[in-house]
Symmetry: C2
Subunit: 278 residues, 2 copies
Amino acid sequence: MLHTQITKTKSFSQVVQSSSTLAAGRQCQGRLWSSLKDICDLLHIPYVSVSDDDELLFQHVQFKAGQRVHTIGQVFDSLYIVHSGFLKTVLIDEYGNEQVLSFPMKSDILGVDGINSRLYSSEAVALSDCDLILLPFKKLTALSRTHVELENTMYDVLSRELVREQAMVGMLGALSAEARVARFLVTLSDRFAVMGYSSKFFNLRMTRHEIGSYLGLTLETVSRTLSAFNEIGMIAVNQRTIEIKDLEALKNLRRLPPSRNRSKQSKENKLTPEYPVQ
Amino acid sequence: MLHTQITKTKSFSQVVQSSSTLAAGRQCQGRLWSSLKDICDLLHIPYVSVSDDDELLFQHVQFKAGQRVHTIGQVFDSLYIVHSGFLKTVLIDEYGNEQVLSFPMKSDILGVDGINSRLYSSEAVALSDCDLILLPFKKLTALSRTHVELENTMYDVLSRELVREQAMVGMLGALSAEARVARFLVTLSDRFAVMGYSSKFFNLRMTRHEIGSYLGLTLETVSRTLSAFNEIGMIAVNQRTIEIKDLEALKNLRRLPPSRNRSKQSKENKLTPEYPVQ
DNA sequence: CGAGAGGTTGAATAAAGTCAACAAACGTGG
DNA sequence: CCACGTTTGTTGACTTTATTCAACCTCTCG
């Protein structure tokens, strides 16, 4: 069972914790370097081969479950791409409340919120043992001078991140609790499929509390909603084990009852006039 | 009264509508061009002067209240910076419901969500007459080859946008209706202050419905909450005219009652081990 | 085997949404 | 300039949804 696996690695992480803290360096077991091509493949972005890309290697860093990749306010110097493992990113408010922003997994990028202010504005925590590719930002910008296509890749990645956040805002703003949980499951299912895992049968890597925070709900509501889905046979749920039994039903459980909230094609809603681009 | 003014320009926009649609070109009244320095100033980003930046001019485009700057699915070719005026950006779901994502105003950037897929993923609508600076994306990327500092500016802008979205998610996920409306007013007040307008007395440019959509509330809840703030003397509200009477009170009306939702410093929450950067 | 974290469930409460009526402002056209 | 229809905003009564509080269960780890 996956669940057992996870917990085992977790306890292992606790054992090696002190030594890894002492190490004060990259834990260097596992895969060490990725080429730019590897990274583009990972990000599902076309890679235009360039001349001498032997030096275009990026080091990996390993994090044990529970470790923080970066904290709020920490000086920004690097982006990370998730090569394997599961994480959460959180905001922390003045009372110490955690607000979960995302659950990064394979091919997701971490740290972009630090570019602007040169300080990370969120915290990233490993939910399982993780292997991340380290992208020192200075190296990245220096490189983009010689490798023009890298710049566009960066724009792509940042823009994609933004579109995702927008979708999240849309969801939080307009969906019922049931619809949010359903979408959460569908999204997870899709992600697992892309990563080559089963899209029908998987383990949640996060607690009900973390899911609730992410979806703007309480942990009880999440639990109840999962139970309700289980009751009507859309899923089978047992603790963190999820089996998707009726994906279509989950997908169709989307918007709130289409109320009067709809946009009217007011006469002001005119089309943009055409204008040439210089 | 500002309100009257707005409506007047609105009706004017309708008069010139047909001609501007016919024009099939930039409406060329008003300011026409901005230099890179102008733009950096507008974005509050330091500008490193470079040699021959005579050609670094960006054309302006005018939009009348009600016009769309871009629609969902439209081919992306340009970013826009708001030079003057007020807009909304929206997502539209399968039932035609609008979800307001932002209310861009002076110095805000539009269109970043189109970079990734080469299609705009949101719709931008002018809420008042607007003057936007057109930033053709190809021109921008071409330029960044000769002007290295431009690249970093772009990263900054995109990252800033992302941090903003994150804050929005945090707000929607964790704040009560009252707190959301209060924060909305405080944010507006700040923005007006930066733009050199009064931070205590201003006009809303959007309907209650649009505010509600933006904050994940119904228009009735927005209306009631504003009335309640009015009742206790924190603000004075009359239709779209807002007077902030107790900014501090609005600012302190933040989080939900600090419930048990707080993060526990679990033993798993360990600090990141130090590791050197190559 | 026992402690503690995570998960489930129920009952009561609170918050926000819905429906509906009405009022105020605007813009249009006489 | 005034009257009328439309859009926007306000308010009340009621309903629904999700939260809160609490008890209990169930894993896993030590």
